[in-house]
């Protein structure tokens, strides 16, 4: 067992930016680290070269992740990572482009870029760390904050409805959509691997814990109890198909939710380039 | 008025024309064609500019072409040497910009109220519809008439410029339009003596 643990940490260290100063900005117990290690394992398993990866993010807790990764990293402006990523991917289609985003970053300020990246089906993997709240700025309500939940800007309970990121992505044209939680680390690794292998726009929503704000304001306890709660709430997608809407109320459906085969944006553009140049 | 303004003279090294009508009559395209006909093969400088409203069809439309052997500083017309007015509205709007001995060319079917009797009138739109086969080439008939009446550009250069811009399958209609324009303008010139 000791050997196995050592190997695993070696893999992790291999993908961490060597000259970056630690500790990270994340709170102890934050789910972001679990996502980062699952992503490293998925990349390692797929055998992508570090030089061939561009990792982008916007602003927020999870968006700090690319800075710690030993890959080409673009930590951009709030909500705009998918716009930047579209430029990176389209300019250099041979790169594996990964976007790390949060519920506020992707769905509030970046909502327009999110749906259009889905619509274009550009070959980008977006990993949306959904912790139902703005963590970095201190616990304000986000587009995924559930109705009646508390945050510093919904001190009497949230009066708004929330987005379902996976439904939104599938409806907008994303060709791979999956969901998991930070409890389900092996499933997450597999899902991230499948998403990166998929040619087209892929979204993986990872339900994560912000015990510092969401947990505290909503009396959900510490990191461990929140993550345990994710475990209890989760239903694998196959099982969920046999359940009624009433039974699914409050559940987190995990696994690959949606996958279709459609032409990818850069491929389509290249087809046009070839046709135009062939004509001349 | 101060001392300077009394002494200034409008530059004499420029030929300024304005093609005007309503949106959709092809006045901007006509000005582009005229600019290319004069400028590409020759040695003169040409500036073409326009102003238009947001609507793609209807509304007043004008386009200016300034020609000079020297560098053209101000790109828009100052005092028109030639005004083409395809509608009453455009004639009323721009006639005051035409200099005293400037050339006025109008569509004399669409224009009924003339501010002067010194003008060349041809039924461009009717000629286009009834003789050339399509109302859209009225602007080309007008260009040919301008060429014949002013000598600003020769027939070959104009024909090349028109055909270069003509949509596929319209070459014959456009050639016909050029022929009509030159013919009718020559007849008019003869009549006026």
């Amino acid at each position: 067992m000791a050997t196995a643990v050592k190997q695993r940490s070696d893999v992790i260290l291999d993908y961490i930016r060597p000259r970056k100063k630690f500790p990270s900005v994340w709170c102890a117990g934050c789910g972001n680290g679990i996502v980062m290690s699952a992503l490293i394992r998925a990349i390692e398993k797929a055998g992508y070269s570090k030089d061939g990866i561009a990792m982008l993010s916007g602003i927020g807790c999870s968006s700090r992740m690319p800075i710690y990764f030993d890959v080409s990293a673009l930590h951009t402006t709030h909500g705009r990572a998918l716009g930047f990523a579209t430029g990176v991917k389209f300019a250099r289609p041979e790169l594996k482009v990964i976007v790390i985003t949060g519920d506020g970053d992707a769905l509030a300020i970046g909502g327009n870029h999110f749906i259009h990246a889905c619509r274009r089906n550009i070959d980008i993997t977006a990993i949306l760390l959904n912790n139902y709240i703005y963590g970095m700025t201190g616990g304000q309500g986000s587009p995924t904050t559930p109705s009646e939940a508390f945050s510093t800007t919904t001190p009497y309970g949230n009066v708004e409805k929330h987005f379902e990121p996976c439904d939104l992505a599938a409806a907008a044209g994303a060709t791979f959509v999956g969901r998991t939680t930070v409890y389900h680390a092996p499933q997450m690794e597999k899902l991230l691997g499948d998403a990166m292998a998929h040619r087209g726009f892929s979204l993986v929503e990872v339900v994560s814990n912000c015990h510092t704000y969401f947990g505290r304001l909503n009396r959900q306890g510490d990191a461990v109890s929140m993550i345990n709660h994710f475990k209890e709430q989760s239903v694998p997608v196959a099982k969920s198909r046999k359940m009624s809407p009433e039974e699914l109320e409050g559940k987190i459906v995990t696994g690959k939710l949606h996958e279709v085969d459609k032409t990818e944006f850069c491929d389509e553009y290249q087809r046009v380039v070839d046709a135009v140049q062939g004509r001349n | 008025m101060g001392a300077l303004l009394e002494k200034i003279k409008i530059p004499h090294d420029r030929f300024e024309m304005r093609l005007s009508g309503s949106g959709g009559q092809g006045m901007i395209l006509a000005a582009v064609i005229m600019g290319e006909a004069i400028g590409i093969g020759g040695k003169k400088n040409v500036v073409q500019s326009q102003s238009y409203g947001p609507e793609a069809r209807g509304g007043a439309s004008k386009s200016d072409v300034v020609v000079s052997p020297n560098e053209i500083f101000y790109p828009k017309a100052m005092r028109l040497d030639l005004l083409l007015a395809m509608t009453q509205e455009s004639l009323d709007s721009y006639y005051p910009d035409l200099k005293e001995d400037g050339v006025l060319i109008v569509d004399d079917v669409l224009v009924t109220d003339f501010p002067t009797d010194k003008y060349y009138g041809l039924p461009f739109t009717r000629l286009a519809r009834e003789e050339a086969g399509h109302v859209m080439v009225a602007n080309v008939i007008a260009l040919a008439a301008i060429a014949e009446l002013t000598g600003i550009v020769d027939r070959e250069a104009l024909t090349n410029a028109v055909l270069n811009r003509a949509p596929r399958g319209t070459a014959d209609k456009n050639k016909k339009a050029i022929e009509i324009g030159f013919r009718e303008a020559a007849r008019l010139k003869e009549k006026k003596g």
Binding site: I67, L74, F84, V88, A91 | I10, G35, V47, Q48, M78
Partner: protein, 378 residues
């Protein structure tokens, strides 16, 4: 050698021609009058030469994609007008901070807000300088003709690559939409500056090192350097910093890498200025009216000249002071409420009278209006 081919070209299309000449291979944009012909030209031309065109969902996404393509190694640009430029400014600030070259074309129309989509204006002059928040030094160039639009677009890319900074090309509706007979430069005729890439091994690469030139080599993504780029204030490694001793030097770098070379960035055109006692100062389409007015005034015996600012930012303090040293009066003409006039007043000595002729009704200033103003101040 045969004469070069003469073409009647629109300002907006000249911009496309200049950009492609300069090596631009990536365009992202959102349609907006009066700049749309730039996008249309790029959509048609770029696939022919293996370049890339994308119409984004808005101007924010457009400039984001442009910056993304630039860090991936392509010379990239976007084109817009006032409302779109307003949406872009946050990410233009990101390009300043991350020292990412890119070119933004602003074909100006009247504002504020939706304003006058089809009418001319020069009211984004100050926005090109101060549009985004924070401290930085901007470069903006402003051609006055279709031919100059070709050469100044090339120069905008060259300055952008040389100084690793976004450059704004300020056109106005008149220059963008008018057509002039021009000849396009042959390959090799105009200088084209290529991006300097690092030659050291990745482990020795310091992305934002304080070198003598203050401008660092820039690798493209995928070339093995795996550097981090962030809009947060960063140290020489590109890592975020909150240390005062690292923050101020970074901001000094953004300013000094440009301000040490103002002389090389500044470009002015002068006409009839020998022995001139009064000078017109203008840029963009108004400069054309000013040259015309000066010519007419000279023929009438008045000692009048005209200066065109082909580059506006950084403001040409020294050159203007020298050119105006012997004149008693200047007349600043512009299509706004006096955005450059403020700078001229700041620069010229107190005993030089600074008069203004400002128009903001959607129309261009005419030579006659400038002559009337001249007559008034003579």
């Amino acid at each position: 050698m045969p004469d070069k081919k003469r073409v009647l070209m629109q300002g907006n299309h000249a911009c496309v021609a200049g950009a492609i000449y300069a090596g631009m291979r990536f365009y992202a944009g959102y349609p907006i009058t009066p700049s749309t012909e730039v996008a249309e030209g790029c959509a048609r031309r770029l696939p022919e030469i293996g370049g890339r065109f994308i119409q984004m969902e808005d101007e924010i996404g457009s400039i984001a994609a442009v910056i993304g393509a630039s860090v991936a190694g392509l010379k990239s640009m976007t084109a817009t007008s006032g409302p779109g430029y307003s949406l872009m400014v946050e990410n233009i600030g990101y390009a300043y901070m991350t020292e990412t070259p890119c070119v933004i074309i602003n074909v100006q129309r009247g504002g504020p807000s939706t304003g006058l989509p089809t009418k001319v204006s020069q009211s984004d002059t100050m926005q090109a300088r101060w549009g985004t928040h924070g401290d930085y030094t901007a470069i903006a160039v402003a051609p006055s003709s279709v031919a100059e639009t070709v050469t100044e677009t090339i120069r905008a890319f060259n300055l952008s690559e040389r100084f690793r900074t976004p450059v704004t090309l300020l056109l106005d509706e008149v220059i963008g939409h008018m057509r002039e007979i021009i000849t396009l430069p042959e390959p090799g005729e105009c200088e084209v500056v290529e991006r300097v890439k690092p030659t050291c091994p990745p482990e020795q690469f310091i992305p934002f090192e304080m070198t003598e030139s203050l401008v660092n080599p820039m690798p493209a993504y995928g070339e093995g350097y795996r550097n981090v780029i962030t809009g947060l204030t960063h140290d020489t490694m590109g890592f975020t910093t909150n240390k005062p001793v690292e923050i101020a030097p970074k901001l000094d770098k953004l300013r000094n890498k440009i301000m040490r070379h103002v002389d090389e960035i500044t470009r002015l055109r002068t006409e009839f200025i020998d022995d001139a006692e009064i000078l017109f100062i203008s840029y963009g389409s108004v400069a054309r009216a000013a040259f015309q007015a000066a010519k007419i005034a000279r023929e009438a015996g008045a000692k009048v000249g005209a200066i065109q600012l082909q580059s506006i930012w950084p403001f040409p303090d020294k050159e203007l002071m020298e050119l105006c040293a012997r004149c008693r009066k200047v007349i600043v003409g512009e299509l706004n409420m006096g955005q450059v006039a403020i700078e001229v007043e700041r620069v010229l000595p107190r005993d030089t009278e600074v008069h203004t002729l400002l128009r903001y009704d959607g129309e261009i200033l005419t030579p006659m209006q400038l002559l009337e103003k001249l007559d008034e101040v003579l």
